[in-house]
Symmetry: C2
Subunit: 113 residues, 2 copies
């Protein structure tokens, strides 16, 4: 709805938040987001991989192909300084958005760090 880009790209917020805690590979991200959200987020691979590629093109993450401890090839993603900046912006955006929704629907109001 303009003005802020709203939710919609909460996907990027979620991915960068996890990567901010350390490198991850795509498949791992999907399972970790499912676990940490208690099944609320169940990203499809067809959703996640294209987003990761886009983030790489935008310079928010870098990728490195490595063989995991189980012998399988994986692409590990790390957040870049530009990605950290973007993450801060998205956190701010989410805080504003969710507070606004809560104001409109009459829910309680909160401050996020």
């Amino acid at each position: 709805m303009a003005a802020d880009r709203g939710a919609g790209n909460s996907t990027v917020l979620l991915i960068l938040s996890v990567l901010d805690q350390g490198e991850r590979y795509g498949y791992e991200l999907i399972r970790e987001l499912e676990r940490r959200s208690e099944k609320v987020f169940q990203f499809q691979e067809g959703t996640l991989y294209p987003v990761l590629h886009r983030l790489e093109n935008q310079g928010y993450v870098t990728a490195e192909r490595k063989t995991g401890e189980n012998g399988k090839e994986r692409r590990y993603y790390r957040i870049t300084p530009a990605g950290k900046k973007q993450l801060a912006a998205e956190r701010e955006s989410w805080a504003r958005f969710s507070a606004a929704v809560n104001r409109v629907i009459g829910g309680e109001q909160h401050a996020f760090s």
Copy 2:
């Protein structure tokens, strides 16, 4: 991201929330959402009107054409019982979604009514 339809349709939640407090016409909804969200939501007419028509087709709202006190033709929308049910579901969905985002990004956790 499936499992819940996530944010995305927060537009419907917002519209039904306002209509739950009384009938409104489209143009009025845009300005009221802008005001109540403190400028965070700035819906375009090209976004809002098609959504209202969809809600009408789905039976969540009814519309009635009336001439306003300023002499202009307006379409007033009212929420239906089915719309109230849908609103309750969307509130629940939003509560789950926003709590999950906050868990993942490390923000505080809240309970919504």
